[in-house]
């Protein structure tokens, strides 16, 4: 498997979080990931897509969440994007336990960071947010 690409555009409905997870896990299975690594991928995608829905679109269900999956050079690259409210201060948002929602814990970014080899965020207020994550199988083929 040298190069493969899938782009998924989906409605900002919470039903689609599980769908995104399953899609990412199935796509990732083309690489030599362990089951534990697949679980990590599922958590990272779940956090990223949930953030688009809760924060980016403030739970509106008429938004679009885009999940880009790419396999290249034995690495999985996942980009999750929304066209929602954006993040004012990315550094602040990345702080463990920082959250703008009262009932939440500010752990989403912590999990993405812990479970992925690379993670970076681009965002523009009022335009939207893009999270790029890279996962490399620990056991090389």
């Amino acid at each position: 498997m040298t190069k493969n690409k899938a782009e998924i555009k989906m409605t900002s409905l919470s039903e689609n979080i599980g769908f995104a997870r399953m899609a990412a896990a199935t796509f990732a299975a083309q690489l030599n990931f362990t089951l534990a690594e697949i679980e990590e991928i599922k958590v990272a995608i779940s956090e990223a897509v949930s953030n688009c829905i809760i924060h980016g679109y403030e739970n509106r269900t008429d938004g679009t969440v885009v999940l880009n999956l790419l396999i290249e050079d034995n690495r999985l690259i996942m980009v999750v994007e929304d066209y929602g409210i954006g993040i004012n201060d990315i550094e602040e948002a990345m702080q463990p336990s920082f959250t703008t929602s009262e009932e939440r814990m500010g752990l989403g970014m912590v999990f993405m960071n812990s479970f992925m080899n690379e993670m970076e965020i681009e965002s523009e207020t009022g335009k939207g947010t893009k999270v790029r994550m890279v996962k490399i199988p620990e056991k090389q083929e």
């Binding site: 779940s46 949930s50 814990m105 989403g108």
Partner: protein
């Protein structure tokens, strides 16, 4: 997600099956709180997580919130059949310090002093 509730003495047993994420979090929160609110005598809660296929920070948030409710009543929180995946999530989030983990229901019942009920 499937939920089974059971009361033993002052402890609420909750068996959770399925995936625990943003989509299912509201239902879990609502249904546990219904039991806690309906019965002021309930102090402790034990979660049976054997059937949990997935949990993320939204699911964890519900558990942490319930921990706070129970703490206010002077009770404690236990979890049974915690998979390595879930344990790692508990660890990263600091939840591991807030709850006790048991191998099986019997052990949890012993620890919570409700065996034989």
């Amino acid at each position: 997600m499937e939920l089974v509730f059971e009361k033993k003495k002052d402890t609420l047993f909750v068996t959770i099956k399925g995936e625990l994420d943003l989509h299912t979090a509201d239902e879990l929160r609502y249904k546990i709180d219904l039991h806690l609110n309906n019965s002021g005598s309930l102090k402790n809660m034990i979660l049976n997580l054997r059937g949990i296929d997935f949990i993320d920070s939204s699911g964890l948030g519900v558990i942490l919130g319930r921990y706070k409710l129970i703490s206010k009543r002077g009770g404690k929180l236990g979890a049974v059949a915690v998979s390595p995946q879930v344990k790692r999530i508990f660890e990263l989030s600091g939840m591991l310090k807030l709850l006790s983990i048991y191998e099986n229901t019997d052990q949890a019942e012993d620890a919570f002093d409700i065996s034989g009920f």
